[in-house]
């Protein structure tokens, strides 16, 4: 049994996520994304690799989409409407609701800006969406008789989910993008502890270090100064302790610029962060608070955004926030609207036409998919200060904040506004999130002062601020998730090769889990779990659950038990209860395999048990026995001429317990018992089991009749040797 995993996209790269997994004959396509940076055939996954004859309906059992970002869903209408896939498509309710908006928005940009031939039409999008089956979180969906899938909350964007898939005994999880720490409007990823053969996880390209990658405005002399100014603003608003944690966190980062930043902070923050104290607690903080810190950093960074935006509008400037239709825009808007409300600001916040107040309607209905905090307020997406933007307002005087599509300034309305606003130093452009190479947004981030657009040069004098937080996961998040799920194998996708290699190394060395990062169009095959199914009888199940106590005397290595100050003679007793399931698997022709208890087997066969036992009548020299134990016995005990059974047994127990390391000797007065070994005094003159002759003559010999079952032969032979003194040379 094996799981085959064909990576069609996002293998050692970022963009067009698409993985086709075959589990026990069922084929699932996870995500169907497009690559934003290409215009040619590379923008879609190479679907021909799934089926040479392009008969996708028979080749694929279902498609699962994790969230509405274009690099996860962009190729879906193309695949269903042009390539002709008609099977089921699963996604969460929010993704089902929001994906068409996202696709339509992108399609428009494509056609408007590039004048390109559209790969799919609005009708295609609508038709494609009709094939979608919306699922709820944690709902176990039976795709067909054998295949079941289940969505788990992933954070990241509204409706993002990780998907669990199970066929037979093999199970896997495909994460898509997720974040392990809650952000302003979404909770952290949540998943059950599952038994998994395979985990396919997105490794994201901008990890925690990049979170701090600011692009700086010209008015500040240096990075450090700029950052300090931000943090000083921020410090006015929050308590000292939070600062302290954040600063400590920054210092704990390996990146040299963070060290520099932290140094700058320390000097300005003499009152808050005392060096001596810091030195003492550095280690502690690093260890104890790292998970809390992720959240703290997120909150500080969101505050930075507001401060920067507020600063700009306070100075009469205009703020342009290019964003895609859904996700970041709403997230930021919650922050701004709330801040505006609290600070009683009157500067208008606009949504451009593509973006959309209507989108907020969706968010309102889907509020149960947001974080707990947002959920508790029913009107979180009822923005009070948000208005629709009109083209005529572009050159209107006075400050404002504008959210405009598309993100990354790839064209459309946001680029048009950019042309108008970029030349003014008063204005600000906030880029929320990552900008792909080749986009204007990316050029701005790399500090290009002039941008060439359709032949005209634009002198960018405005401030540029990249929104510092990333809703993607980071190295730590991935490690946490992998550790939590402990799958048999991990496959990393959606990341740049060198960075993934480091994590791959860590997963293998730290967690001991096999890990690989296949390139596009590579196929990976991993073994999968398989169970043999059988019916189990009640008697078998019951026998497995029976306690199986073993009493062990504490060995030498276990002497240092805390708190057990044992006096001599009362050795602590170790109790072990390791239940072992033992039974018999019966395979009858044309019937289901069945596991039974051994007693039941005989009933089934109609046979009676035939036991094989050993017996031996063992002669023991009483003198020797007494000598061995004289220390405790007074001469009066030499009444053994008339052998008293229980005293003989007692003597023997004393002797055996010194000589035997294993077994639990039980003294029943008349007889003694070690496991199945049973011993009693034999008073018969001619015992059938008395094999060795000639000892009868010796005056002080007592006979002990022993029986035991074949299983305890080893132990029994040891006991007998001990009794006959064959193993020890007495002095």
């Amino acid at each position: 049994m094996a799981i085959d995993c064909l990576v069609l996209g996002a293998g050692q790269e970022v963009g067009k996520s698409c993985v086709v997994v075959t589990i026990n004959g069922k084929r699932i396509m996870f995500d169907c994304g497009m690559h934003m940076a290409y215009n040619d055939h590379r923008q879609y996954p190479d679907f021909s690799r799934i089926s040479k004859s392009c008969d996708f309906n028979n080749a694929i059992d279902c498609i699962v989409i994790t969230h509405f970002h274009l690099d996860h869903i962009g190729a879906l209408p193309y695949f269903t409407e042009i390539c002709g896939y008609n099977g089921p498509i699963y996604m969460t309710y929010p993704t089902r609701a929001l994906a068409p908006i996202m696709l339509e928005d992108y399609r428009k940009v494509l056609v408007d800006r590039r004048g390109e031939v559209e790969q799919f039409t609005s009708d295609h999008i609508a038709e494609c969406m009709k094939k979608v089956i919306a699922v709820d979180l944690k709902q176990t969906v039976q795709v067909d008789k054998d295949l079941q899938i289940r969505a788990y909350y992933a954070g990241h964007v509204l409706g993002a989910a990780m998907f669990y898939a199970k066929v037979g005994d093999s199970a896997m999880v495909y994460t898509g993008d997720y974040n392990m720490t809650p952000d302003r409007h979404l909770g952290a990823a949540r998943i059950d502890r599952l038994q998994l053969d395979l985990l396919i996880t997105d490794f994201d390209f901008h990890g925690i270090c990049l979170v701090f990658q600011f692009t700086f405005c010209k008015c500040y002399n240096s990075e450090i100064e700029y950052r300090n100014s931000l943090f000083i603003d921020y410090a006015a608003a929050v308590s000292d302790t939070v600062d302290y944690i954040i600063v400590s966190y920054l210092i704990s980062l390996p990146c040299p610029e963070m060290e520099a930043l932290a140094f700058g902070l320390r000097s300005t923050y003499a009152t808050t962060v005392r060096d001596s104290k810091y030195a003492r607690e550095r280690e502690f903080l690093k260890a104890a608070a790292s998970s809390v810190l992720h959240t703290a950093v997120a909150s500080i960074l969101s505050f930075v955004v507001i401060i920067v935006v507020h600063k700009c509008v306070a100075g009469g400037g205009k703020v342009l926030i290019p964003a895609f239709a859904l996700g970041r825009a709403q997230e930021l808007c919650i922050l701004l609207d709330d801040y505006w409300e609290r600070m009683n600001l009157r500067v208008p916040i606009y949504f451009s036409a593509g973006l959309t107040i209507q989108a907020n309607m969706y968010y309102k209905m889907l509020i149960s998919w947001t974080s707990q905090k947002v959920k508790e307020t029913y009107n979180a997406f009822d923005f009070k200060n948000v208005h629709n933007f009109d083209r005529s307002l572009i050159d209107a005087p006075g400050p404002c904040v504008l959210f405009a599509t598309p993100g990354m300034l790839t064209g459309g309305f946001s680029l048009e506004v950019f042309k108008h606003w970029a030349p003014s130093e008063m204005n600000l452009i906030t880029l929320p999130g990552y900008c792909l190479a080749g986009t204007i947004g990316n050029k701005l981030m790399s500090g290009n002062p002039t941008i060439e657009l359709e032949g005209t040069k634009i002198d960018v004098r405005c401030q540029i601020h990249q929104l510092a937080f990333s809703p993607h996961t980071d190295g730590k998040g991935i490690m946490d998730l992998v550790k939590f799920l402990s799958p048999q194998h991990v496959i990393l996708v959606h990341g740049e090769k060198p960075k993934m290699a480091t994590l791959k190394e860590r997963i293998q060395s730290e967690l001991g889990i096999k890990c690989c990062d296949p390139a596009n169009n590579e196929s990976v095959c991993i073994p999968s779990t398989h169970y043999v199914k059988a019916g189990a009888s009640d008697a078998f199940i019951r026998s497995c659950l029976n306690p199986n106590f073993q009493f062990l005397k504490s060995g030498s290595e276990e002497k240092s038990v805390s708190g057990s100050k044992c006096t001599e003679g009362t050795l602590p007793l170790w109790i072990k209860d390791e239940r072992v399931a033992e039974g018999i698997l019966v395979l009858e022709k044309s019937e289901k395999a069945k596991v039974v208890h051994q007693d039941e087997l005989l009933l089934m066969l109609g046979e009676k048990r035939h036991e094989v036992q050993f017996a031996y009548c063992c002669p023991v020299n009483v003198d020797e026995l007494e000598k061995f134990t004289t220390t405790s016995l007074t001469p009066t005990a030499r009444m053994l001429r008339d052998p008293n059974k229980s005293s003989l047994i007692r003597l023997l127990v004393a002797k055996l317990s010194r000589k035997l390391s294993e077994g639990n000797i039980q003294d029943f007065g008349e007889h003694l018992q070690v496991e199945s070994f049973h011993l009693s005094v034999c008073l018969k003159d001619t015992c059938p089991y008395r094999i060795t002759n000639g000892l009868e003559d010796k005056p002080r010999t007592a006979f002990f009749c022993c029986t035991w079952s074949a299983a305890d032969d080893k132990l029994a032979r040891k006991i007998i040797s001990a009794m006959e003194n064959r193993d020890l040379v007495e002095t």
Binding site: Y93, A97, P100, M129, A134, D136, L137, K138, Q139, T140, V141, Q358, M361, Y362, M365, L366, S368, Y378, Y531, V532, K533, G535, A536, S537, D538, I541, V580, A581, E582, G583, I584, L585, V586, L587, E588, K589, V595, Q598, L601, L602, L605, E607, K608, R609, H610, E611, V612, Q613, F614, A615, Y616, S676, P688, Y689, I691, S709, A710, A711, D713, R717
Partner: protein
């Protein structure tokens, strides 16, 4: 497995209540309140004087002579709530799991959870829990009015509970208060703290989510279509699946449809959709109403139609009656009963008003309405297909969002809200609790409008209208009684079961005459009746065991020729996890050699034994055993070579006596060759 029906309930608001004992766990299905019993109490009197007078004159006036009930026969006190009586016969600490199928099935929970020793795990769907909680909070809020009026309860229990007082109640009321067998009424109203405590013990689920109880039972909820969040349950364990079918609706206009496919293939079906019998009589109009013929005609023409169409027609009829009333200058009072119907009625009435271009305000007066209306617009996952399509196209799930914004609907927490008083305008249409006509704003409005023959009161059939309106008599306002589906129609039961393909179905005793299963061969049927325990035979003989491949690869098969069996020993560690038994390899595989005895059977034959022994170089002679009279076929082999030893063979045991352990083990081998064993 055992099944006990504690109460068959009565209609939508009082679902049935059962207890199932499965895999050693007690599972309680639903914990409802019989709110129809509230009718024995008098609504809050207008004036305190009247109440006092009544109390004083009571004992003299009441006599054992039966006469028609009048308003003064009712109990003038803070109401008590009737829980499922048979539940009290059970020790609450023995209940392990509580499964709640609908918001109505949840109302009795605070009575249960406040009992000492209650420690069960409660599972409810997220939406049902939320709506149920709102219903409880509303009930407490309305009950507060009584408490404020009558004052806090005396420690000795209320006056009316005394036996002498109860004896004086007219028989009709006594039957409601005490039940057929004269047992007591449930208890006083819980407080908010009880509800909070109860909710904190609840684990909420989504449809299709797997909850694992104690590693053994997997519990899943699937939509029943009855109301928002209402569900049927599947309990699966290693020994089969049990489906619990509560009142279910194939095509709902609000809640997600009855998901019968999920129940397909269950081994046992506990059929608890008891409303089907009631629904045969369909919509009836009470004697108070005036347009009898019209309604009957309507019903006849609809009888063959699809259920959802039928339900929509009923809504339309109510709307048209309401429009008629307001046109005539009267007001309409619609006590809020079912959440789904309430939300649909709001939409429909607004549409009707639009059509007839009326501008009549719609008021919703309820302490929880605002929250309920906001909540219902955020739960697309729990709604029917048509509503989900609204989400996908960006429209609100229910029209009330828009109507409130357009100020066509006004929501107020109470009748005395200042905003309501400023806004009040008659005629109007009012939705308010409670359908028993004993609690909440309905009382005040009913008093106001009961004399107006143009006004209209809309009640459900499940309510005993005669008794409900008793305190408001004489009444000249019109009363419209209607019924909505509370479950499947009877004729759909058989086809449904044919699709579900169970092995065994449990039906209520009453059905024996109505639904015949004589022609059904694919499954067997048992009947249950209230307060009687049925033993259910085991669904599967053996539990499913999953054996890890590591263990399976080490099997050493042995063929038993005479029985054509293959057998092998099996050893590992048993895990009971997520409802499955799994046999995994031992942690320390060091002791791979046999530690437990071999199992042998068969009867050794002396010749064979001697032959086997001589193959191993052991020689001896057979002696018939004379000492043991019982074992006739016993014999003894005396071995002389290579060493003196003895083999004593009897019917069930062979004893080998040899001083040398090598010799002993060789003899054992010889024995094994002639015996069967594993």
């Amino acid at each position: 497995m055992k099944f006990t029906c504690l109460c068959q309930g009565g209609g939508f608001n009082f679902p049935p209540c059962h207890i199932l004992n499965v895999s050693g766990f007690h599972v309680l299905f639903d914990c409802p309140l019989d709110l129809s019993a509230l009718t024995v109490f008098s609504p809050l009197p207008n004036d305190f004087y009247k109440a006092i007078c009544k109390e004083n004159s009571d004992s003299q006036n009441r006599q054992k002579v039966e006469k028609p009930l009048d308003a003064n026969d009712l109990i003038f006190a803070e109401p008590w709530y009737k829980t499922v009586n048979n539940l009290h016969l059970w020790n609450v600490s023995f209940i392990d799991v509580v499964l709640i199928s609908s918001p109505m099935g949840m109302l009795g929970l605070p009575f249960l959870t406040r009992m000492e020793g209650f420690s069960a795990k409660i599972y409810i769907t997220e939406a049902a829990a939320r709506i149920g909680q709102l219903m409880m909070e509303e009930l407490i809020c309305m009950n507060m009015e009584y408490r404020q009026f009558y004052g806090a309860e005396e420690s000795s229990g209320p006056q009316w509970m005394k036996w002498e007082e109860l004896e004086l109640l007219p028989s009709a009321l006594r039957k409601i208060a005490l039940g057929e067998d004269g047992s007591e009424l449930g208890g006083g109203c819980p407080c908010i703290a009880h509800v909070k405590d109860c909710i904190s013990k609840v684990q909420t689920l989504r449809f299709g989510e797997e909850a694992c109880y104690n590693g053994i039972l997997i519990i899943k909820a699937f939509s029943s279509g009855l109301d928002i969040g209402a569900c049927n349950w599947i309990i699966s364990g290693a020994k089969g699946n049990i489906a619990y079918i509560s009142g279910s609706n194939f095509a709902s206009g609000h809640a997600m449809d009855f998901d019968y496919r999920a129940i397909q293939g269950s081994d046992l079906i506990l059929y608890s959709d008891l409303s089907s019998l009631d629904s045969t009589e369909d919509i009836d109009q009470s004697s108070f109403s005036d347009d009898n013929n019209n309604w009957e005609e309507l019903m006849n023409s609809l009888s063959n139609y699809d259920e959802s169409v039928e339900e929509m027609e009923k809504l339309a009829f109510i709307c048209s009656c309401a429009i008629d009333s307001v046109k005539a200058g009267g007001s309409v009072l619609i006590p809020i009963n079912r959440v789904g119907v309430f939300l649909q009625l709001l939409e429909q009435i607004a549409i009707f008003m639009e059509c007839s271009s009326l501008k009549i305000p719609i008021y919703i007066i309820s302490s929880v309405a605002e929250e309920l209306l906001a909540y219902t617009n955020t739960i697309p996952e729990w709604l029917c297909k048509q509503r989900q399509e609204k989400l996908f196209s960006g429209d609100p799930l229910f029209a009330h969002v828009k109507l409130i914004k357009e100020k066509k609907i006004h929501v107020f927490p109470a009748v005395h809200s200042p905003k309501l008083l400023m806004n009040w305008q008659e005629p109007c249409i009012v939705f308010s609790p409670h359908w028993s006509l004993r609690l909440g704003p309905t009382i005040h409005l009913l008093r106001r409008w009961s004399g107006d023959h143009n006004s209209l009161l809309v009640l459900e059939n499940e309510v005993d209208a005669e008794l409900a309106v008793l305190p408001f008599k004489p009444i000249s306002m019109k009363v419209l009684q209607c019924s909505f589906l509370s479950g499947k129609k009877l004729q759909k039961v058989q086809p449904l079961l044919k699709i579900l393909q169970p092995k065994l179905v449990l039906f209520p005793e009453e059905w024996r005459t109505h639904v015949s299963f004589s022609d059904v061969t694919s499954f067997s049927v048992s009947h249950y009746s209230e307060n009687e325990t049925i033993h259910i035979p085991s669904l599967k003989e053996s539990a499913e065991l999953e054996i890890a491949a590591d263990i399976a690869s080490k099997f050493q098969w042995r063929m038993l020729k005479q029985k054509k069996l293959n057998i092998t020993r099996l050893k590992g560690r048993l895990f009971v996890n997520h409802g499955k038994h799994q046999l995994l390899p031992e942690n320390e595989p060091g002791g791979s050699s046999q530690t437990r005895p071999f199992l042998h059977w068969g009867s050794p034959d002396p010749e064979n034994l001697l032959a086997e022994l001589s193959k191993m170089g052991i020689n001896g002679s057979v002696e018939r055993c004379m000492t043991d009279a019982e074992s006739e076929d016993g014999f003894t082999v005396k071995v002389q070579d290579p060493e003196k030893s003895m083999i004593e063979v009897r019917a069930a045991v062979t004893v080998i006596s040899a001083a040398d352990k090598n010799l002993a083990s060789r003899i054992v081998k010889a024995m094994e060759n002639i015996l069967e064993g594993i």
